[in-house]
């Protein structure tokens, strides 16, 4: 049988959506010189908090709001660790991920012991015209609003310049009267909110239910995408699309008799290999933000 192209594109957009939200969130944070390995946990928290709120209130919108707030709280926590206390960013991030996932699963266990509740009402696709445009609102926002906005803010607003200044040189930011601590804190808060939305997209739009392991490594993929994209918005989006496209393709190939005996795992590995290959082809000499991984201390 032949591949259904429309469906392929449609699936690609859906799969890419959480990556775009969270990826841009990670980008914002990393531009300020902080590596946010808490992303996996923040997405997880967003998915869970959003779900619980939506379940209790009966409205996915409330869920989305809760996810955003939850994300901001997680961001503030990460800021406390890496900005306030100046702790090692690798450990803080991984530690935060472990903590958030553990707390969410613990609460899930206490709340929904055993049974798997579903949302009475979840976000639905805006139209059903054809698979390409039959997307969730959050997908449209991600590609048509979030990405351009992020690009514009970073490129041509003072906020963007301050973010980059802090990411590139403490001294320069300091002398220019830009508060390194506040800038990084805000970057973490805003970025984490975006990550949380990325996670909530899965529970509030795609599934309408929550199961453990729901993020399943998507956060790590975003970290890779951001570095792969060299901290620029459009390449992040592009990378997310490449990743999602290979994933969607893999799903279709898996059920076409022609590919029946290609090892499934090979196809499942395609998205990762695709990103690595892309990086290998035109990913020379990544230069990190100069203050990457460095805590800020003032005399």
């Amino acid at each position: 049988m032949s591949i259904n192209l429309l469906a392929l594109v449609g699936a690609t957009l859906t799969i890419a959506t959480p990556l775009v939200w969270a990826g841009i969130g990670e980008l914002v944070v990393e531009r300020s010189g902080v590596l946010h390995l808490g992303i996996e946990g923040v997405m997880y928290a967003g998915a869970f908090v959003g779900f619980v709120a939506a379940l209790e209130s009966g409205s996915p919108w409330v869920g989305l709001g809760a996810a955003v707030v939850g994300g901001m709280v997680c961001g503030a926590l990460m800021a406390l660790l890496t900005v306030g206390l100046g702790l090692n960013q690798h450990v803080s991030g991984i530690g935060l991920t472990l903590l958030l996932i553990a707390v969410c699963e613990f609460s899930a266990r206490l709340r929904y012991a055993g049974e798997r509740p579903r949302l009475a009402e979840k976000f639905s696709t805006l139209t059903d015209a054809n698979p390409v445009v039959a997307q969730y609102g959050l997908t449209y926002v991600a590609f048509l609003a979030l990405a351009p906005a992020a690009w514009w803010v970073l490129r041509s607003t003072g906020a963007g310049f301050r973010l980059r200044a802090v990411g590139e040189s403490f001294e320069a930011a300091d002398v220019a009267g830009i508060s390194v601590r506040w800038t990084r804190t805000w970057a973490l808060v805003v970025g984490s909110a975006l990550m949380a939305v990325g996670g909530a997209f899965l529970t509030l739009a795609v599934l309408g239910s929550f199961t453990i392991d729901i993020i399943n490594g998507r956060g790590w993929v975003c970290v890779a995408l951001v570095i792969f994209a060299r901290w620029r918005v459009w390449p992040v989006v592009g990378g997310a699309l490449v990743f999602a496209a290979t994933d969607a393709l893999q799903l279709q190939l898996a059920i076409t008799s022609a590919f029946a005996d290609v090892p499934r795992e090979l196809m499942l590995a395609l998205p990762y290999l695709a990103v690595i290959a892309a990086l290998a082809v035109w990913g020379r000499a990544v230069c990190y933000p100069a203050t990457y991984l460095r805590p800020y201390e003032r005399g």
């Binding site: 259904n4 696709t125 239910s209 279709q252 076409t256 008799s257």
Partner: protein
């Protein structure tokens, strides 16, 4: 699964009821262990047993540690769990504690003197579900999303295919695996791939598929527990695993002394180890009466043993032209 509550219930339970430990490799949220846990918890609520459990022992050393800890310090009468991915460790511990009844989900053989094995033999309901799906599809294409091609899943999927073939020789059954027990988002994407490839009936061996069916407004078949309420308009029925008969067999062993037997058939339909949930005829497009009749007829044959579902544990190809095979 219920945090400390289970523990407290067990204390309230009858003092000399046997103490049974549930020891699980995956979190209880995973349906397979979830089903075992549910049956044990139920037995505990009825005062049949006192029940304690620990889950998420993903590595062999964690599993062995827990088992030895329990066997050493808690004097249990029986330990029930799943030995997949830790066969060696579990069997070693069982050998060291011959007086304790060990009953484990396992692909291996029983081990003298006290290690019995069980498994979820759902081929019967799977066959019936296949018949149903075969009858429901109009595009002659059925989509199946499974976790990974392990024997327990394979024989279910193969029985399902066989059933579909019976009611619809021209049906094509497409199978995809997401290679993880969780990640419903991926399962949903896989299901949508099926839909885009023309499938109009889905078999949800994993979470996430029903959501896709709901959106695409096609019927779906659930798994492990009755998932009808998840999408009343779309879940035609579900394969249900009842561990209770197995648990009762274990309790019997506790009183009559440990044995090394294959408890597999306690999961068979005719002993009530598994069933097909009541057909939900008010799904989209409904279910034609003759199809309902056919399924119920076959069900009866299985119960009286006049029909035995073939067991085939080979990995199903990604796309099976039922008619062709």
């Amino acid at each position: 699964a219920c945090g400390g509550s289970t523990g407290e219930e067990s204390e309230t339970a009858d003092g000399d009821a046997p103490l049974v430990y549930g020891v699980f490799a995956t979190p209880l949220e995973e349906p397979w262990d979830g089903a075992i846990h549910a049956a044990l918890a139920e037995a505990a609520d009825e005062g049949e047993i006192r029940y304690q459990h620990v889950d998420n022992l993903s590595t062999a050393d964690a599993m062995e540690r827990a088992l030895r800890d329990i066997a050493e310090n808690e004097q249990p009468d029986a330990i029930v769990g799943d030995a997949f991915a830790a066969e060696d460790a579990v069997r070693a511990v069982a050998a060291d504690y011959p007086d304790i009844v060990f009953a484990f989900g396992s692909g291996g053989k029983p081990q003298e003197p006290n290690f019995s094995v069980f498994d979820n033999w759902l081929q019967d309901p799977a066959y019936l579900a296949g018949m149903l799906a075969g009858g429901l599809t109009e595009s002659d294409t059925i989509g199946v999303v499974g976790a990974m091609p392990i024997p327990e899943v394979n024989r279910i999927v193969n029985a399902f295919i066989a059933g579909a073939t019976e009611t619809n020789p021209d049906a094509t059954v497409k199978v995809s695996f997401i290679n993880t027990f969780f990640d419903p988002a991926a399962a949903k994407q896989a299901a949508q791939a099926h839909l885009s490839a023309g499938a109009d009936v889905l078999f949800a061996e994993r979470d996430g598929v029903i959501a896709a069916a709901e959106e695409a407004d096609v019927p779906a078949i659930g798994m492990m527990v009755d998932q009808e309420e998840e999408a009343p308009g779309h879940v035609a029925t579900s394969l249900i695993w009842h561990m209770r008969p197995t648990v009762d067999a274990v309790v019997a062993q506790v009183s009559d002394g440990a044995e090394a037997v294959d408890l597999g058939e306690y999961s068979f339909m005719k002993v009530g180890g598994s069933e097909l949930a009541e057909l939900n005829t008010d799904i989209v497009g409904g279910i034609p009466d003759d199809l309902v009749a056919a399924v119920e007829d076959k069900e009866a044959q299985i119960m009286d043993g006049s029909f035995v579902t073939p067991v085939d544990e080979t990995t199903p190809a990604g796309s099976v032209d039922a008619g062709g095979k």
